[in-house]
């Protein structure tokens, strides 16, 4: 069963198509990375899911409920906004206590202490108005996790954290995967690569790609090989003659070739090296990074 499913979801702001026929599927129990350049429609998608804006056409099913017909599913969701703003007059404990109150959490005091410990705000006594952006981000995560939701929707959860804080938050999100579904919008591709099982790439409101990360990498494998030998000039001439690669690029003391078929090429390269009596220093099959794929997908349209 899917935690999130959209059917032809459209959201227009006057003439602008913020979401255009979005068909998205997020299976339960995974971390889904929702990628896209600025203005792609990521936050609009989240606002539609949270019933803060109404879709122009189509619908979404969140935890099995149609968002046009019910709001009960919101009780099972934890949401972290991209710029977390809270009531500045509250302390973290007071704010979480208010959230516990309106979401009917059982044994709230114990739960609040657990959550504050989890996000590293246990010793914070000051008002939220005095918090740094990173601390607000942690508090945002705390209020999202407080009701122990089935589905976590995180809008740029690591954007304002330092490297250490980012690692801690990513580890925390990853540790929640077993019993929650996490929908995670971000610009930071390394974060996605690190913890997500599946991704969707959005541009101008349209979903360009949606699949498991492994499948996407296989699909976008470029069949590129990096080779380092002691005589690049001689080697590149032989490669051109024998392998007839799609492209050949000499960079510093290495050569990168792109071929149509990788397995036979990998057998032939050592033979050439032996025949030419060259010294092989490095041989590496280059896998495309998520960034490469992201740029390729978003630039192709």
């Amino acid at each position: 069963m899917n935690a999130i499913e959209t059917e032809g979801l459209c959201k227009y702001f006057r003439e602008k198509k913020a979401l255009d026929n979005l068909n998205l599927e997020v299976p339960k129990g995974i971390i889904f990375g929702y990628l896209g350049p600025n203005g792609a429609g990521k936050t609009t998608t989240i606002r539609v899911f949270l019933n803060l804006v109404k879709p122009t056409k189509g619908t979404a099913y969140i935890l099995g409920e149609d968002i046009r017909e019910s709001r009960n599913y919101l009780r099972k969701i934890g949401f972290l906004p991209d710029v977390p703003n809270f009531y500045n007059f509250f302390t973290a404990r007071e704010f979480l206590s208010f959230i516990a109150d309106i979401t009917d959490i059982e044994n709230p005091k114990k739960r609040i202490e657990e959550i504050l410990e989890l996000v590293g705000l246990k010793n914070e006594k000051g008002r939220i108005g005095t918090y740094s952006r990173g601390m607000k981000q942690r508090l945002g995560l705390a209020q999202a996790l407080l009701p122990d939701p089935e589905l976590l929707i995180l809008d740029e959860p690591t954007s304002s954290l330092d490297p250490q804080g980012r690692k801690e938050v990513l580890d925390l999100i990853h540790s929640l995967k077993d019993n929650k579904t996490i929908f995670f919008s971000t610009h930071i591709l390394t974060d996605v690569e690190r913890i997500c099982d599946r991704i969707g790439i959005l541009k101008e409101g349209r979903l360009l790609l949606e699949d498991d990360i492994e499948n996407i990498k296989k699909r976008y494998r470029r069949r590129r090989i990096l080779i380092e030998v002691d005589d690049l000039k001689r080697f590149s001439e032989r490669i051109k003659e024998t392998l007839k690669p799609n492209s050949i690029e000499v960079k510093n003391n290495s050569i990168i070739i792109e071929v149509l078929e990788i397995y036979n090429t990998l057998k032939e390269i050592p033979q050439i090296i032996v025949q030419e009596n060259l010294l092989l220093e490095k041989l590496e099959v280059l896998e495309p990074s998520l960034e490469d794929i992201f740029l390729e997908v978003t630039n192709a349209t």
């Binding site: 949270l50 949401f79 703003n85 009531y87 007059f89 509250f90 959230i99």
Partner: protein, 252 residues
């Protein structure tokens, strides 16, 4: 849910000093009004000692005229300033979206604000009325309780309308400036309409004149029925439109 949300409003007012500002404003005017009425003639005489000024002997009516004048000016201003951003600023700061994304009903969220504001103003008005009455009786033993209390009821109806108008303005405006602009525009229009006698009887602003009229010439419910009914009706309509508008708004 309404009580939980009202509790948060109360907490906000307490923690941000708004509550203490309101209490002080109400209490100061309830105590100062009868005292001012009593000593004003002496003050005027002491300032202009060379000119003979005939000032009528102050009565309890002067105390309550002063009290309602202060309520309609200073307290009105404080109430509007403190309440006008209650919804618009939460939309602007995106806290509204955060709380509503927890499954809180939009109508209940607005109603909780309205009920909290009206409860606070009613409680403080009633306390300050009794304080004003207490000091009036000390300074003017013939103070009429019935007349002053009934005039106070008119003020409560008037404040119900004003709070409904702030809720309406705040529901529609996206920030405190917009909400304030909507409030002022409607208030000015009502002020102009109040000068036209055919519609004045149906104008909530006319209630503030009636309070003084009742204190001066005595209670006359017949003359106020139209104004009270139209004020309550308009308050209900404003709240209803505010709820409807907010319910269909797209939030950040």
């Amino acid at each position: 849910m309404l009580l939980k949300l009202m509790k948060k409003e109360f907490y906000e007012f307490r923690k941000t000093g708004k509550l203490i500002a309101m209490i002080i404003t109400f209490l100061i005017f309830s105590i100062v009004s009868p005292i001012t009425a009593k000593i004003m003639p002496e003050l005027i005489r002491s300032i202009s000692s060379e000119i003979t000024i005939i000032i009528p002997t102050p009565t309890w009516k002067d105390a309550f005229l002063q009290f309602f004048k202060n309520l309609n000016q200073m307290v009105f201003l404080i109430v509007v300033l403190l309440f006008i951003g209650s919804i618009a600023e939460e939309k602007n700061r995106k806290t509204a979206g955060l709380i509503l994304s927890k499954g809180v009903d939009r109508k209940k969220w607005i109603l909780a604000k309205f009920l909290f504001q009206i409860s606070l103003v009613f409680i403080l008005t009633i306390i300050s009325f009794f304080l004003c009455y207490y000091y009036s009786v000390i300074l003017f033993p013939d103070t009429e309780f019935d007349v002053s209390l009934q005039s106070c009821i008119l003020f409560l109806v008037y404040m119900t309308f004003i709070i409904s108008l702030t809720i309406f303005s705040s529901s529609i405006g996206n920030n405190i400036i917009q909400a304030g602009g909507i409030f002022i525009t409607i208030f000015i229009i009502l002020g102009i309409l109040n000068m036209l006698s055919p519609v004045r009887d149906y104008n909530p602003i006319y209630l503030s004149s009636l309070e003084n009229q009742w204190v001066t010439t005595g209670v006359e419910w017949n003359s106020a029925v139209k104004t009270i009914i139209s004020s309550i009706t308009l308050s209900v309509i404003l709240i209803f439109i505010g709820l409807y508008s907010f319910n269909s708004q797209e939030l950040e």
